[in-house]
Point group: C2
Chain length 241, copies 2
Amino acid sequence: MTKPGVNGSSKKTGVGDVANYIRSKILLGEYGPDGRLVEDQIAKELGVSRTPVRQALATIEAEGLVEIFPNRGAIVAAFSSDEVWKVYDLRAVLEGLAARRAAENIDEAELDQLHSLAAEMERLDRELREANASPGRLGRGAHKERVRCLVNANQDFHHTIVAASRNHRLEKSVRRTVQIPMVLKAFSWYRPVERAVTNYQHRKIVRALESGDSQRAELVMTEHIYEGRDVILRALEEDRI
Amino acid sequence: MTKPGVNGSSKKTGVGDVANYIRSKILLGEYGPDGRLVEDQIAKELGVSRTPVRQALATIEAEGLVEIFPNRGAIVAAFSSDEVWKVYDLRAVLEGLAARRAAENIDEAELDQLHSLAAEMERLDRELREANASPGRLGRGAHKERVRCLVNANQDFHHTIVAASRNHRLEKSVRRTVQIPMVLKAFSWYRPVERAVTNYQHRKIVRALESGDSQRAELVMTEHIYEGRDVILRALEEDRI
DNA sequence: TCTCCACATATTGTACACAATATCGAAAGG
DNA sequence: CCTTTCGATATTGTGTACAATATGTGGAGA
């Protein structure tokens, strides 16, 4: 028994674990960019042989996170600002479509979740601003932790909408496209203005979804993604991420 | 030397060949749908070991052509008409975006190619109609061959536009999404009316691209994809493909 | 000093062997 | 006659060994 049925694409076998390990390493900024992924090294880190590592790398290459060069191995995919622009161009239409279809299909439970996620992000934003107003009260660690929560909540928010589109292919496409710039993403949340804009747009999106206004949902979501692109690109050229 | 550099994702190693072999088998309708892909069997067919076969299957799963169930192997992904609808929903926005960006970036050589591809498809359509008017002159084989050419030319047409979008990620996304319903696709071309509509829309798209009208290009392309969806779905419920 | 070539090393690509798991059929029990 | 359980078979999952290929280093020659 142990209902192995509705497992989706997340295989419970070792290969899946290896793939997740590599993904998280990449997304957390280790390895790269342009870092080489040596199979034997990863294999030893996880205490498995190279076989599942190779398979995981093949999967991750198909997802676009790494590039595999024949006989030379895998390296983390690098992103110029030009590529970031293009990834967000793609993401805009994908999540735009997701929002449009979500407006037609979303249920009460999902709307509730969106509400609470939006509320949580607003709470975290308030806390961050207060901590900023009275400095010294909280360490840098608490700040980073809150930003991490913000990133997670934001991810959940977007994922909920994509799931509500009821289109599994779209879901996979978005996941592939979204995870790319995640390395850079945390940096979008350090400035209060951008957090405020994000929260405002999230509320607008929820309202559109609630009233079933698919056109408006798509429009706002698309603009929301473009906004995110602008933030990333500005950070890229100003601060050097 | 032998410039191995700009090889993109098409690895020249054995795994790539194996993957192409499996893909074409699936796309040609062997194996499935719901057909099981036994690793050892495929390995023997190609005279290689199971190792590269397994890797190829992992890649193809990430592309969405097959589903791999832990300890139970890979089966060809099945498509209900509901899923076809969703795949085309996705394809519409992807190729719509491609057309929009292509209108901004396409060069003369690509426009020339689009013109000649459109012309070739019109020629093939004429020949098919003439062969239909005076039956018996050509065998069924010649008919099927022309349809195959039509499918190829159509593929090239769409691919040229996607390539002209100058967005590699988008290109990969489209490839993954497009190859899915390709099994069904040949059936769209058997009826003269649909061929005529297709050719007309192709010409409209080329004109929009030529004049750099990105909005119009996106609009027509999107409608073109929806049209294709309608044809497939009609075929599915009428004839039973 | 610079260039080119050969060799040593590291890493990937593939084959094969064995263990783990699922599937199918048959026999036993109700 | 139907259901359940056990075992034989087939297939997948992983480890290991070896071959193929790239990379880096040192020396010989101009």
